[in-house]
Amino acid sequence: MLLIHAGAIEADGTPEGCDVQDWMAFDKAVRDAGILVSGESLADLVTATTVRVAADGERTVVDGPFAESREVLGGFYVIDVPDLDTALDWAARCPGSRGGGAVVVRPVADFGA
């Protein structure tokens, strides 16, 4: 799974250092390679809502979180590749890894055993 953490956001809300064409090209490359399992880009953080359920069952719903740090999860790809090196190559090609952003690569847990 590639977790895309946006770096600095420009005034128009798009991440710095890459444009829509870059993202479209990357998305097409992932699809053409036949490795795409799923992927979404997430809506702006102002639309986020947090739910917590306490031990007594009480549900708390709060607006946010708002970006306290610079890095905000902006989207993800789940890809099916044979090994970490291949995943890291795709992460490096992802526009989200540039312009102060970062892509975190995490294997999906395997409970199949």
Binding site: D83, L84, D85, A87, L88, V105, P107, A113
Partner: protein, 412 residues
């Protein structure tokens, strides 16, 4: 027989890992094969191809184990299928009865996705063939700590699928420095321990040299690998002269150069020529500097202009304050202590060196030579606070005492 196993262990493990794609399984069946050999060989005699015998035995044991554990086998089958698609490893070593597949293992153990302290531990464990207890001793850490670190690293290799493969030509320049760094760090810790009663941890330095040799044999065309081996050999050649009869540290100007290891030094110098047969890399240049020291009859007779020039090249490749420090010391030797001190005090990034022992020692030495004794004494006291091993502290106390003595004489 123990030494045969130690030599064969790395090769055996690498071959098994390539076939089964799993470090734990490889380790387990390798140990079982060695145990079987310990029982059989004294009765049947040592086979003509001991490595091949061990590999066949270990493979049989792995197949048995996979038959018993089908879920595990199904998981590994995927990995194995992928491993089979990789091209076979290049260049068999003519002297060996097993193909050498250790290069994959070098790159896996030094993978950038693993924590730095785990990379050294994995390399010592699986390529140098040390036991976990020996690796722990090498790091002066409890066996439980090192064992946990190894388990976690193996877990990451398995679950994150860090591959057992040699990076392709386009990736190699990015990945090779990581492997070299692991070996270099092991050597540095062996050369000047970060703490303890002994200056050197000889066996660790020996292991690092051995690993560098293996890597050089596997990648003979890589100039930086030749450079690293050349550097380690040139420095290691001085090992016997670096401490006095009571284990005290002797600096370059106090060492008995007849106790330097001539053949090792020559081997290092020959590698420098290979390393610098193209555009220079940082290990090649450092090897050249070390070789120049080895060729010199004494400190004043050292080719300091050439050494300063090499530090200039090195600083262009890697503009770190540590290299600036070494360059300043070389300039002090070429020109005068004052020139060196001025460079030292004007180094960019100097505050990053504040806690670096060699910086404090170099400053103290230059101040002493300039006759600025009160400042020199203060600098030696600072160096004493930072020094890691007893022999270093003993040397610094000796120097501090001589500075204080000179101050008293000046006053009296």
């Amino acid at each position: 027989m123990e030494s045969v196993f130690r030599e064969e262990r790395g090769r055996l493990l690498a071959s098994l890992v390539r076939r089964f794609g799993d470090l734990d399984l490889a380790e387990e069946v390798a140990s079982e094969a060695v145990e079987t050999a310990l029982v059989r060989w004294p009765i049947d005699g040592v086979p003509s191809r001991p490595g091949a015998w061990l590999l066949t035995t270990a493979r049989r044991k792995a197949v048995d184990r996979l038959r018993r554990d089908r879920v595990y086998a199904a998981k590994l089958a995927v990995l194995q299928w992928e491993a089979d698609r990789e091209p076979p490893p290049p260049g068999p070593d003519p002297g060996a009865d097993l193909p050498d597949e250790r290069l994959q293992l070098f790159f896996t153990c030094a993978h950038p996705a693993l924590p730095a302290d785990a990379r050294g531990a994995l390399t010592l464990r699986y390529l140098a063939g040390l036991t976990t207890a020996e690796v722990a001793r090498a790091y002066l850490q409890p066996a439980a700590t090192v064992s946990r670190r190894l388990v976690r690293a193996k877990q990451k290799i398995r679950d994150a699928r860090i591959p057992f493969r040699v990076p392709g030509p386009d990736e190699l320049p990015g990945r090779l420095p990581g492997v070299l760094q692991v070996i270099y760090s092991l050597f540095t810790e062996g050369h000047t321990a970060s703490s303890g009663t002994h200056l050197q941890r000889r066996e660790l330095a020996d292991e690092a040299v051995r690993l560098a040799r293996i890597l050089h044999r596997l990648l003979p065309a890589e100039r930086e690998v030749a450079g690293l081996l050349g550097l380690l050999l040139s420095v290691h050649a001085r090992r016997d002269a670096r401490t006095g009869p009571d284990g005290e540290l002797l600096l370059l100007d106090e060492q008995d150069r007849t106790r330097w290891d001539g053949p090792m030094s020559e081997e290092g110098a020959a590698l420098v020529r290979t390393a610098l047969s193209g555009p220079p890399g940082p290990y090649g240049v450092q090897a050249a500097i070390a070789a120049l020291h080895n060729e010199a009859p004494d400190v004043p007779g050292t080719d300091w202009p050439q050494i300063v020039a090499l530090y200039d090249v090195l600083a262009a490749l890697d503009p770190s304050p540590v290299i600036g420090l070494n360059r300043a010391v070389a300039v002090a030797m070429r020109d005068a202590p004052q020139a060196g001190l001025e460079l030292l005090d004007g180094l960019p990034g100097r505050d990053r060196l504040r806690d670096y022992p060699p910086y404090a020692v170099a400053r103290a030495d230059l101040l002493q030579r300039l006759g600025r004794l009160t400042e020199a004494a203060a600098a030696y006291r600072r160096a004493l606070e930072l020094a890691g091993t007893d022999p270093e502290r003993a040397l610094l106390r000796r120097r501090l005492a001589s500075v204080i003595e000179s101050v008293r004489e000046g006053e009296g």
